[in-house]
């Protein structure tokens, strides 16, 4: 294994595995003593939810790889269509996913033509 590969696996363990796994171990240790509806858990969950929203926004606005070739307007339009599909079609995640993807493909084909 090359130095670079070893380095990336080490990074996976140190900054990927440990920072996420520690919460699971803590969860096991705390066991019954922490209430899922307690204020601190509510706040912590809100922070985590906002962070996921930030991740979604980052991928849509500053996308990696092939998605960057699709114009910003099409990406935003597709996300909006997916959201509308999700809400209109019984809040089904499948519906949102399919409608959003269909809108992205349609938009990309239309713009590319």
């Amino acid at each position: 294994m090359s130095n670079l590969a070893l380095h990336s696996y080490l990074a996976l363990l140190l900054v990927g595995f440990l920072p996420s796994e520690v919460w699971r171990w803590l969860g096991v240790l705390l066991g019954r003593s922490l209430d899922e509806d307690s204020e601190i858990v509510l706040w912590v969950r809100a922070v985590a939810t906002a962070l996921v929203a930030g991740v979604v926004a980052r991928i849509v606005l500053f996308p990696p790889g092939g998605l960057a070739d699709v114009p910003l307007g099409v990406r935003l339009g597709a996300i909006t269509c997916g959201l509308i599909g999700f809400f209109v079609l019984k809040r089904s995640p499948f519906a949102g996913l399919i409608v959003g993807e269909a809108a992205l493909v349609a938009g990309a084909l239309f713009v590319g033509r």
Partner: protein, 249 residues
């Protein structure tokens, strides 16, 4: 829905485990997971990670949002401290999930170490399905069943990750874009579906608005600030709202 759930007769651990795997593979989350992980595989490819590294990250980290952060920040050469902080913050949600899951799994004789695997397998998909399905399972079979659900989902994620990785380099536009788009689209709708409380919805909305501002402003630790600001404002607003209404939100 309203019929009381009666735990069925006890089975062997192997059978309970297999029923868990089947429950995972027939769950709606299998498709969402496959979609998300095809996207993550493509993302890992585009950021130059190896297929082995990507699979290892699925087995070890096992949280799609954290893996997206890991791949995109490490791949972009972010500082280790920032990456670790962002991962830790995004994975905080695992703590209350594990805490809420344990009472369903434990018996008086359960040892701490047999809870390590279910805790490691805890992720949004597995947690939602476990809470829904475990009450029907005899208590002594629950850990095996729960491990079956978790490992069933994990197998799908690993396979989907490899598929996404292999397809990413070869697919012409707009197919490559489609794969990468699965991740944000799936996260968006599944997080919204899972957020029943006002505080969660607010947090998502504010985070979605604050995140881009932080990134455009080139603020250091942009994701962490997005989480802290979005989450704290959402929490404060929902508290004030609850106080004015005189009841908990």
């Amino acid at each position: 829905m309203s019929t009381p759930l009666q735990p069925g007769p006890s089975q062997s651990s192997a059978r309970a485990f297999l029923s868990g795997v089947v429950a995972a593979w027939t769950s709606v989350f299998s498709l969402v997971l496959a979609g998300s992980y095809i996207g993550i595989g493509a993302l890992a490819h585009d950021f130059g990670f190896s297929i082995g590294w990507m699979t290892a990250s699925t087995l070890l980290v096992w949280a799609a949002p954290a893996q997206v952060i890991l791949v995109s920040t490490l791949g972009a050469g972010a500082a280790f401290v920032e990456v670790a902080l962002a991962i830790a913050l995004s994975a905080v949600r695992l703590l209350p999930m594990v805490v809420a899951l344990l009472p369903l799994l434990k018996t008086e004789r359960t040892r701490q170490r047999s809870l390590i695997l279910p805790a490691h397998l805890t992720a949004i998909s597995m947690w939602v399905e476990s809470l829904r399905l475990l009450p029907r399972i005899p208590r002594e079979n629950r850990i095996a069943y729960c491990n079956g659900i978790g490992l069933g989902f994990m197998a799908i994620a690993c396979i989907a990750g490899v598929i996404g990785y292999l397809l990413a380099g070869r697919l012409p536009l707009p197919l490559a874009a489609t794969l990468l788009f699965l991740t944000p689209m799936a996260f968006l709708v599944s997080v919204i579906r899972n957020s029943r409380l006002m505080v969660d919805r607010l947090a998502f909305g504010i985070g979605f608005a604050v995140g881009p501002l932080m990134m455009w402003g080139k603020v250091g630790l942009a994701l962490m600030w997005t989480g802290l600001i979005g989450g704290s404002v959402a929490y404060a607003v929902s508290r004030l709202y609850a106080r004015r209404k005189g009841r908990p939100s």
